[in-house]
Symmetry: C2
Subunit: 335 residues, 2 copies
C-alpha cells in the first residue's frame, strides 16, 4: 500500500487538500470495485507543522498528524495556501517552514515530492529545486523568477518532472499531478481509467494557452498554430520571416500565404499584435517598467514602441496601465 503524505499548514486551500484526498479515495474505491478486493491502494495522511489539525482558509478543519506517526511515505505532496502575491506567499511560507526538516528528509530518502500552484514556492524556498526544471502558476512567474533564478521554469508543460520532483501549474492542475503520481506509483492503466472516471483531460499539457492573450483565432492550420505558440514563447528574441521559414521547414512565401489564409493577416503583422497584446497584459498584471516590458516583448526601442502602442491601442502605455482596472470596473458593474 502506498502512503501519500500531504504537507500543509493553517491557511491551506481546503479544496486542494480535500481534492487530493478524494482523488486517492476514488482510486481506492475504483480499484476495490473493479478487483473485488477490500484493500486500499493508497492512504493519504495530512502532515501539519505541529501535528495538530489544520484550519484551512475559510475555516474548514482537516485532520492532520506528524510525520513520525505515519508509515514511510511513497510520495509527498506539498499543498500551498491561498496566495496571490509576495505577502501572502511569505505568510504561508512562515507557517509551513517548521516542516522543512521533514520535507528534506523525504527528499533524502528519494521520496517523490510534488508541488503545484503556489506550493512550488515552498519547494524552491527549501532548495529542492535548485538546478532543476519546474513549473508554477503563470501569474506568479514573475515573483518566482526573481526569487529563485536557479530554477529553470518550463511553463509550457502542465506537469514537469525532474528526477523525483514533480511540479504542476495553476489551481486545478493538482488533478493532473495526482494522475501522474498514480501512474508513477502504480500503473498507467489505472491512471487512464481514473482520468475517464473523473473527466480529467490527460492531454491537457500546457498552461500557456490559458495565460495569454485575447487572440483566440480558431482555425485548423496546424502549422500556423505551432508557429503562433512558438512566437508567444519566443517573443523576446528577434524573429524574422527567414528564421520562421527555416525553423518550421517551409518557405517565406508559404508562411505569408497561410497566415493570410487562416488569420487574415501577415506573419509579421500578427507578431506585432502578439507583442502589443503581451505588453498590454504585462502592463495590466505586472509591476515591470515600460522599458522592461518593451524588452520582454521583443522591442529594442521604447519610444518607437510607444508610438506603435498608441497607434494600435489609442492610449499611451501609461494611460493604458492606469485605465485598465477602471475599465474592468465599469464593465463588471454594468453586468
Amino acid at each position: 500500500m502506498k502512503n501519500i503524505v500531504l504537507f500543509a499548514a493553517d491557511g491551506a486551500m481546503a479544496s486542494q487538500l480535500t481534492g487530493i484526498i478524494d482523488f486517492f479515495m476514488i482510486c481506492n474505491r475504483f480499484w476495490q470495485v473493479t478487483n473485488n478486493q477490500d484493500t486500499d491502494l493508497f492512504t493519504v495522511n495530512v502532515i501539519s507543522p505541529n501535528g495538530n489539525n489544520i484550519t484551512c482558509d475559510g475555516g474548514i478543519v482537516i485532520n492532520a498528524t506528524s510525520l513520525k506517526n505515519v508509515a514511510l511515505p511513497s510520495a509527498a505532496v506539498i499543498v500551498g495556501g491561498v496566495s496571490y502575491d509576495d505577502k501572502t506567499l511569505t505568510k504561508y511560507l512562515t507557517k509551513i517552514s517548521p516542516l522543512k526538516q521533514d520535507i528534506l528528509k523525504c527528499e533524502k530518502n528519494a521520496v517523490p515530492i510534488a508541488t503545484f500552484c503556489s506550493s512550488t514556492f515552498i519547494a524552491a524556498e527549501f532548495g529542492l529545486l535548485n538546478g532543476k526544471k519546474a513549473t508554477t502558476v503563470w501569474w506568479l512567474v514573475k515573483i518566482f523568477t526573481q526569487k529563485y533564478p536557479q530554477v529553470t521554469l518550463q511553463l509550457d508543460e502542465l506537469v514537469v518532472r525532474d528526477k523525483a520532483i514533480f511540479t504542476a501549474g495553476a489551481t486545478t492542475s493538482y488533478l493532473s499531478l495526482c494522475l501522474k503520481l498514480v501512474e508513477e506509483l502504480f500503473d498507467g492503466q489505472l491512471a487512464d481509467q481514473i482520468s475517464r472516471l473523473m473527466l480529467i483531460d490527460p492531454n491537457r499539457c500546457s498552461q500557456r494557452p490559458f495565460m495569454l492573450l485575447d487572440l483566440p483565432e480558431r482555425h485548423h492550420d496546424d502549422l500556423i498554430k505551432k508557429i503562433q505558440q512558438w512566437m508567444i514563447q519566443n517573443l523576446s528574441q528577434p524573429i524574422s520571416l527567414d528564421l520562421l521559414a527555416d525553423k518550421f521547414a517551409t518557405t517565406k512565401r508559404t508562411l505569408i500565404r497561410r497566415f493570410k489564409k487562416v488569420l487574415n493577416d501577415t506573419p509579421m503583422n500578427y507578431l506585432q499584435k502578439i507583442r502589443v497584446e503581451s505588453a498590454k497584459r504585462l502592463l495590466e498584471c505586472s509591476g515591470l517598467s515600460l522599458e522592461q516590458i518593451v524588452l520582454k516583448v521583443g522591442y529594442e526601442d521604447v519610444s518607437s514602441f510607444r508610438k506603435l502602442f498608441v497607434e494600435l491601442v489609442e492610449l499611451t502605455p501609461r494611460e493604458y496601465r492606469e485605465r485598465f482596472q477602471q475599465s474592468i470596473n465599469a464593465n463588471i458593474i454594468e453586468g
Copy 2:
C-alpha cells in the same frame, strides 16, 4: 451580492463542496484585488437537512445552516454524495430528501438550480428535470435512463442548460458548472479571467471523448477527426461510405485515401473497430444483453457479430464479459 446556496447532506464528497466554496472565494479575491475593493461578489452557504454541520464522506466536517437563516439565493447547487451505484445513490437520496421542499421553493422562485455528477439524480428524483434536457455522469447513464425516462439526456455537452436548470457531467465538471454560473449571475469577462486563473478549459465541452474507447490515434487531419467523432456518436444507425462522403461534403475516394493516410486503415474497417470496441465497453460496463449491445453498436445480426468479435478479440462475447466484468466494473453500473 449574489448568494449561492449549496444543498448537501452527510456523505457528500468533501472536495466538491470545498471546491465550489473555494471557487467563489477565488472569484471574490480576484475581484477585490483587481478592483481595489473590499466587498464580496458572492457568498456561499451550505444548507443541510437539519441545519447542522455536514460530515462528508471521509469525515471532514463542513459548516452548514438552514435555508431560512440565509439571504434569498441567487443560485442553488445540489451537491451529491460519493455514489457508484444504485445503492449508494439511494442512500444519499434518503439523507438529502428533507431538503426537497427547500429545493422546490427555489425552483418556484426561479432561482437557477445546478447539479452535476450524481446530484443530477436528486434533481430528477424531485421532478425538477421532467421534460427537460440534462446531462449526468457517463457511468451512471444506464441507471438514469431507466429511472427517469422523462428526462432527455444530452451527453455530448459538459454543461447543459434548460431554462433555469443547469446540469453537468462527471466529478470535476463542477468547475465548468461554476464558470457557467459566474457568467450567468455576473458576467462573461470575469468568468473568462477566472478560467485562466484556475486553468479551467472553457472549451471543454463534451464528456464523450472520455467515456470511450482505446482508440487514441493521434493525427492532424481535422476532417477525419470529425468523422471519427461522428461515427462514435452515430454507431447505432447504418453508416455507409456514401453517407459519410455526402455528410462531410467529399468523395468516397478521398475518404478512403485520407483514412488510410492518417489511420492506416480503411473507413469501414475502422468503423468496425469502433463498433467492436464499443461492444467491449458495453459488455464490461452495462447489463445489456448481447442482442441489445449488438443493436446498439449498429449490427443487425447477433451471430455474425459474434463471429466477428471472436475473430478480433479472440474471446466470445460471453467469455469477454465474464473475464472483464469481474475484473473491471461489475458493481459500478449494475449495483
